[in-house]
């Protein structure tokens, strides 16, 4: 389906909350292995929601997300022409339009109808007949991956750290790999020590999160995600809840990971960090990617007027 350079493939992603407010309105985005993406944009523009959709902490309303060539969302019929063509709605429209217009070629007619169906959201998934249903099921069964499995390879770091307060630092780090039987307790403990050593917090191994500073907590949260040996790391405003003097230590760790080739997607307000680390910067506002470019071009010659306005305010 996708070539194996792509690690995350987002197709036609929409998200509404309670069917009212449109948070994301049609995001398409491919992220390659090893790529460092930074997402910036105004609050409420949908950047965090987008990130949280990538590991399904938010369920997309429409659209598909593929991780490592595997589908983690349900099949979105609007994204598959063959599925639309198998629907009863398509069949009926085809006959009707054919009668109205005998000259048009099959292909043109078909494209017209597909466009119309997509435009007006005409499919009713429960009433599109057996062929439609079977095809959707087929695509799903051939491609899906259970979300818990996909999440094991996608580390996530939160704004508010979300360390487990009833566990020691070391237990925080080893709990998931041991509980999921990915590592023996000894292996997990050894890995935890290595990672703690690396971030300079080995002496905090037996401390509880409440005994750590914000910067230390966030570094432990990063280590906890790394202990799962993820293929991609998602950072949701990792420094926004930190005191200013602690931002540096966390950003340094993220930079270090970046330099080692970790694929990462970072939602942040730190423009300096974006310039330095990103290979591609996305500007998400009003639920859309309004601009995406390498940082040089993104910051020096922005095209989208909304971005120009945004950069004027923050820089």
């Amino acid at each position: 389906m996708t070539d194996n350079k792509v690690i995350i493939d987002v197709k036609g992603l929409y998200k509404t909350f309670d069917g009212k407010k449109m948070i994301l309105q049609g995001i398409n985005c491919q992220i390659n292995k090893g790529e460092k993406i930074v997402i910036i944009g105004p609050s409420g523009g949908g950047k965090s929601t987008f990130l949280r959709c990538l590991n399904l902490l938010e369920k997309p309303t429409y659209g598909e997300i593929w991780v490592n060539g595997k589908l983690i969302t349900p099949v979105d019929p609007y994204l598959h022409f063959d599925v639309i063509k198998a629907s009863l709605t398509y069949g009926k429209m085809f006959e009707k339009k054919r009668a109205e217009n005998p000259i048009i070629s099959d292909e043109d007619l078909s494209n017209e109808i597909i466009a119309e169906i997509k435009e007006n959201d005409l499919l009713n998934e429960k009433r599109e007949g057996r062929a439609f249903k079977d095809l959707v099921k087929d695509i799903y069964l051939n491609n899906y991956i259970q979300i818990d499995l996909a999440r094991q390879k996608m580390g996530m770091v939160f704004q508010h750290f979300n360390l487990f307060p009833h566990m020691t630092v070391k237990e925080n780090i080893t709990f998931a790999p041991v509980s999921l039987k990915l590592k023996t307790p000894e292996e997990a403990a050894k890995r935890a020590d290595e990672l703690l050593e690396r971030v300079g917090l080995l002496e905090k191994a037996d401390a509880y999160p409440s005994q750590l500073s914000g910067g230390q907590k966030q570094r432990i949260a990063i280590v906890r995600a790394l202990a799962m040996d993820p293929e991609v790391m998602l950072f949701d405003e990792p420094t926004s809840a930190l005191d200013p003097e602690m931002v540096g230590e966390v950003l340094d760790l993220i930079k270090q990971l970046a330099s080692e080739g970790m694929t990462m997607i970072v939602v942040t307000h730190e423009m300096g960090f974006a310039r330095e680390v990103a290979e591609r910067v996305l500007f998400i506002s009003e639920g859309l990617i309004l601009e995406e470019a390498p940082p040089e071009q993104f910051f020096n010659s922005p095209k989208n007027p909304r971005l120009v306005q945004f950069l004027q305010k923050v820089l």
């Binding site: 999440r151 307060p165 020691t168 799962m228």
Partner: protein
């Protein structure tokens, strides 16, 4: 005066081995309270988890409805009436009053424990669940190992109160003809006509047990609080 006190004591406890009635009553009280507490905690935890799970995912609609009706009915009717119904209607074929008392009180306590636990679970930051799930843990493991331990720590004082009220509430089990501590005192009084010793002494026994229980709970709370120094 002093003679009278001695006489009352002898009549209440020693004559006809009446202390055995008290001991027997005490044993029934403890048995019923202990088993009912365990039943209550199990039912309460299950009901709370079902209700929270339903709220989070929208699944288990029917189970959630059953749980809601259960808590509404139990909390809306007196425990004596519940016991009488359990004994005389639901288990009409059985005369095992102690066992039925355990079940009746357990069902009653379960509804209260469920509401306490539900509050406790909801009070745990949603970020904890998200962090657990984002590591690839199942919703079950996340609930069991990450959310519940924190929730239980938060609700322990309230659950402790519930245990204490339950222990004291068992004093109405006499309605089913079970000789618990309270009923034993009444039986003794009906023989000796001395009200002071039986009533005061059982009050002291209840007090001592509740005091011991509070002490144990405090120890447990302190142990669980070691992570928030």
């Amino acid at each position: 005066m002093f003679d009278k006190i001695i006489d009352g004591f002898v009549k209440t406890f020693i004559a006809e081995d009446r202390y055995k009635m008290f001991l027997n009553g005490f044993w029934n009280t403890i048995q019923i309270a202990f088993v009912a507490t365990i039943i209550g905690v199990i039912i309460g935890a299950i009901v709370a988890i079902i209700r929270v799970f339903h709220k989070q995912t929208g699944k288990l609609v029917i189970l959630d409805k059953i749980c809601e009706i259960y808590t509404t009915v139990i909390r809306g009717t007196p425990v004596v009436v519940q016991l009488l119904i359990t004994y005389n209607i639901i288990f009409v074929w059985s005369t095992q009053a102690v066992l039925i008392g355990m079940i009746g009180f357990g069902l009653n306590s379960g509804a209260y424990v469920a509401e306490i636990m539900r509050g406790g679970i909801n009070a745990v930051d949603i970020g904890q669940t998200e962090a657990g799930r984002s590591l690839g843990l199942s919703s079950f493991t996340t609930m069991k190992s990450i959310v519940l331990p924190q929730a239980i720590k938060n609700v322990l004082p309230a659950i402790g109160n519930e245990f204490i009220s339950l222990l004291k509430e068992t004093s109405i089990i006499g309605f089913l003809g079970v000789i618990d501590l309270t009923k034993a005192a009444e039986r003794v009084i009906s023989r000796t006509m001395n009200v002071y010793f039986p009533y005061i002494s059982i009050a002291l026994v209840y007090l001592a047990v509740v005091y011991g229980l509070s002490y144990l709970l405090k120890l447990l709370e302190r142990r669980l609080a070691k992570s928030d120094r």
